[in-house]
């Protein structure tokens, strides 16, 4: 216990700093991923052929091991002198987030009760009115579940990004491994877990806020 106290005394501010780096990396990646994934998911509901293809590609992306994807990013981004660091990690995280976000947006909207959709069309709503007023609000819990999956997943994957110099909590863990320092490994892991739990809880709160109570259950 005393050892921990001493460890934290020395490292607390660094841990906090790395946690913030980690959160910033993941947040930026998720924001960009949402800007791409949600409109794409919505568009795919109107184009069945493209939907199948895009969802397949997104699934395949997710099966690439993160360390391999980061590895692939390095030579590509070396071309613009960004081979290591923030940019390749950021791009990889955006790619990883696409599947849960696109898929949940797509299936959430597709699975809106067909009778509800029928009523909306029969009452004379235009496509965008139907999407904005009926389909998206009713698909929101499913879409948000996808966003939460993407966030929690990315918080985990971003740990690996430390290997390509993107910083974040992965730094504590990789250093801990190379120096055989359990304090570093454990504190890094706990910080990652806490970050994931906090992020997920905040998103759940937002979801409840924006979803009328009827849909929350």
């Amino acid at each position: 216990m005393e050892n921990w106290a001493r460890f934290l005394e020395v490292n607390a501010s660094r841990i906090l700093e790395l946690t913030i780096d980690h959160a910033v990396l993941v947040s930026l990646a998720i924001i960009v991923a949402l800007l791409i994934g949600i409109p794409l998911g919505i568009y795919l509901t109107t184009n069945q052929y493209l939907a199948d293809t895009v969802l397949q590609i997104a699934s395949i992306t997710l099966t690439i091991p993160s360390i391999a994807l980061f590895g692939v990013m390095i030579p590509i981004f070396s071309l613009i002198n960004q081979g290591i660091g923030f940019v390749p990690a950021f791009v990889a995280l955006v790619l990883y987030s696409q599947l849960p976000i696109i898929r949940n947006t797509y299936t959430g909207i597709k699975n809106v009760n067909p009778e509800m959709r029928d009523a909306a069309i029969g009452m004379g709503m235009k496509t965008h009115q139907r999407l904005l007023r009926v389909e998206i609000p009713n698909a929101l819990p499913v879409i948000m579940a996808g966003v939460r999956t993407a966030v929690v997943m990315n918080i985990g994957i971003a740990v690996i990004a430390a290997y390509i110099g993107a910083g974040g909590l992965g730094v504590l863990i990789t250093q801990g491994i190379s120096r055989n320092d359990n304090y570093l490994i454990i504190s890094g892991s706990i910080a990652v877990a806490v970050l994931a739990i906090i992020a997920d809880s905040i998103l759940l709160l937002i979801q409840k806020r924006f979803t009328k109570k009827v849909l929350a259950n």
Partner: protein, 330 residues
């Protein structure tokens, strides 16, 4: 007014869901599409607001050919009610009901006033129910809202696809009565799908009986019961169609034709019914022997006579059976 002119609907080459259908729903009348499952009722209904395309023929709505109209505008002028009410769970009752007026860009004040009026029609309190969400209402209340929502922008035409089909029988009858009451006030031109014979007899000014997409008979309920055009029609209405037709007649009709019995003041165990009660319900009540004497009251609550099973039977014989047997001989 809705006119179907030689309307045909094909799904691919093989399936003819609607086959050369030709009839007119007069302004302010209710026409019920009746027939066994899969005969094409829903398909025919949905061709009116262009949720289904028309393969051949045309549908004229208040003088305009439906295919010349913009589908979005067309639909906003047609009230549409479906069986599972189709209320949007993410909107309050007020938002649901005022949706079409909202799409049409009505002012806040107009919407508010219209909402209050519609809720009065529905018999639900505007202040209380307006803020609720659909799941906070019973099935019957949701269906009432489904109906007034279709009336929201005061469309001249209404399409109703088994609107009361999901309700239990007691609530269903009650809502049918309420709806007929509303219709007396709003006088819409209504196409109404049902597979329930009793409902069709009760609601319809005229019935279209369909089979495999073809019209078997287009007539008033009493004509159809009295003069079925072919074997299918008479079988469809069943052997008890004479009793069914009793629901088209009231105690008042019986009184006019054969008169009521005298009131016996010495009998204690009596029940009363209103003179506008239909004879089918009256007969059930008489058969249940709920009382020794059933007294008929007029709208002012005055006793105007008594009614018995014998009288109903006599009326049935003269007025209804007479017609039916005449048609079978003819």
């Amino acid at each position: 007014m809705i006119s179907f002119k030689n309307v045909t609907k094909k799904y691919g080459e093989e399936i003819t869901a609607i086959d050369d259908v030709d009839f007119t729903v007069e302004e302010g009348k209710i026409v019920v599409l009746l027939g066994p499952s899969g005969c094409g009722k829903t398909t025919l209904l949905r061709m009116v607001n262009r949720l289904e395309s028309i393969s051949e023929g045309e549908i004229i709505i208040n003088g305009e050919n439906s295919k010349d109209l913009d589908p979005i505008e067309l639909r906003r002028k047609i009230g549409y009610v479906i069986q599972s009410n189709g209320l949007f769970p993410n909107m309050t009752i007020e938002e649901n009901v005022m949706l079409v007026p909202d799409l049409l860009g009505w002012s806040k004040k107009d919407k508010r006033e219209r909402f209050k009026y519609l809720m009065k029609l529905s018999g639900l309190d505007a202040e209380d129910y307006g803020k609720r969400f659909p799941h906070e209402l019973s099935g019957g209340q949701q269906q009432r809202i489904g109906v007034v929502r279709a009336l929201a922008a005061d469309p001249p035409v209404m399409l109703m696809d088994e609107p009361f089909g999901a309700l239990d029988p007691i609530i269903r009858e009650k809502i049918q009565d309420e709806f007929l009451q509303i219709q007396r006030e709003v006088k819409k031109t209504i196409l109404f799908v049902s597979h329930d014979i009793d409902e069709a007899i009760k609601m319809a000014d005229k019935i279209v009986l369909l089979r495999d997409g073809k019209v078997m008979q287009f007539d008033t309920p009493s004509e159809m019961l009295a003069h079925p055009k072919n074997e299918f029609v008479s079988q469809f209405f069943g052997k008890d169609r004479a009793i069914k037709s009793l629901s088209l007649h009231t105690v008042e009709n019986l009184r006019e034709i054969i008169g009521l019995g005298p009131v016996d003041e010495t009998i204690q165990d009596t029940k009363t019914i209103n003179v506008h009660q239909d004879l089918r319900n009256t007969l059930s009540m008489l058969m249940n022997q709920e009382a020794d004497q059933v007294i008929v009251k007029d709208d002012h609550g005055e006793n105007i006579g008594t009614i018995t099973i014998d009288l109903v039977q006599k009326y049935l014989h003269f007025e209804i059976k007479g017609k039916i047997s005449a048609s079978q001989e003819g």
